[in-house]
Symmetry: C2
Subunit: 233 residues, 2 copies
């Protein structure tokens, strides 16, 4: 007698993934119908469906109704990137977090802000410059703009003690978030604030959030020299 172990959907996923890895099914090949796989493996079709959905989400197979399931020909490197609030990030690295408000004004938005939000009209927003510190040393310089239309309450928040980052994260959940990564050379202002050599290469993370098509905030975060962004799979 063999023991009939019940198959979990992860078992099914791993089984099929293994067949793709060992080239039983090659890129472009069509896999059997869910129902047939279920019959073969002795599990319910919904278990196969769950497994396939995961492989599909991971970019490994492509599924079409009536068309069936195919191994993807052009796999993409798909990863999940978590960007925590800066305080958490520093603390997770075992550092002591610090924060300095550098500037706070209501003014016409800069061109890059207008571009990020795809606004046709120039408008005013709350502009906040702040410095995040790790172990007393500059860590991230943030140039943030906050819509006073979506977040009027921000005007009465004491941003010298509470970072806008933190307040927004707790009080303004968003429905859409765009990210942009690129490199810049440190200009005089950035070099001073981050105590980085003039002209050094710095990673920039721009993030813009919306709630139902209404802009909430956009931030250009310039990181200190040597900063690296990692995925954690």
């Amino acid at each position: 007698m063999t023991t009939a172990t019940r198959l979990s959907w992860t078992d099914v996923r791993d089984h099929i993934h293994a067949q793709i890895l060992d080239r039983t099914y090659r890129p472009g090949d069509k896999l059997p119908r869910d129902e047939d796989i279920a019959k073969d493996l002795g599990c319910a079709r919904s278990t196969v469906q769950r497994a396939m959905q995961d492989l599909s989400d991971a970019g490994i197979v492509e599924r079409k109704r009536k068309g069936g399931t195919q191994v993807r020909t052009d796999p993409v490197t798909r990863t999940t990137l978590d960007i925590p609030i800066t305080r958490k990030e520093v603390e997770q690295r075992g550092g002591i977090y610090g924060y300095q408000l550098l500037n706070r004004t209501v003014e016409d938005i800069a061109p890059w802000v207008r571009a990020n939000f795809a606004l046709s009209q120039p408008i005013t927003m709350l502009h906040v410059d702040a410095l995040h510190l790790a172990d007393q040393r500059p860590y991230i310089l943030e140039d943030r703009w906050i819509s006073t239309e979506t977040s009027p309450e921000i005007l009465s928040v004491d941003l010298a003690t509470n970072s806008a980052n933190e307040w927004l994260v707790r009080n303004k959940p968003y429905t859409r978030c765009d990210l942009r990564f690129y490199a810049v050379e440190a200009d005089q202002k950035v070099a001073d604030k981050l105590t980085a050599p003039l002209g050094s290469a710095l990673l920039v993370i721009e993030r813009s959030t919306w709630i139902d098509d209404h802009p909430i905030t956009t931030v250009r975060a310039v990181t200190r020299p040597g900063y690296q962004l990692l995925t954690q799979n």
Copy 2:
């Protein structure tokens, strides 16, 4: 008579998400049990489960058996990043893709390669330098190392006509992938190859892949000036 529309799991997810957005449930608050939500909304518990799983995957709520479901106190910005093969990337931007093999040797791995794979022993791998072009102009300079242990076949591939990028993607599916993003200043060699100003800030994408703990390849891709990486949510 009202028409009883059947609730889909996305409806349930959106309904609960809306309640989090409108602060019916605030960060830290506990949500009702799945079963109670199901009863309230008049759907099956598994439908609520599916919705909740999605919110949990998105980092919006946190679920624990017996502990129930909570709105996350420290939401993270969680996004999915797709990195296609370079040829596809160029073509998707409407450019004409080109490729040049610059160098191909079997040699002792560089320190950064050893670090990426966490190898205790120095070993040899196939080292490939190549340039990707968009519309005849340098686009990405790649410094790639390929394990001849995991991929001995690569030694007989004509890398002058087929990019290693392309061959690996089609022939070596991986089980683990690490990514690393940072900025570098263009040194003389990089500046020459990319026709970038010496010292200009460039975004670097490092990617390392494994199959079941065996290294496949690691690549340091230095992008041309002005290159930006975007998420597409």
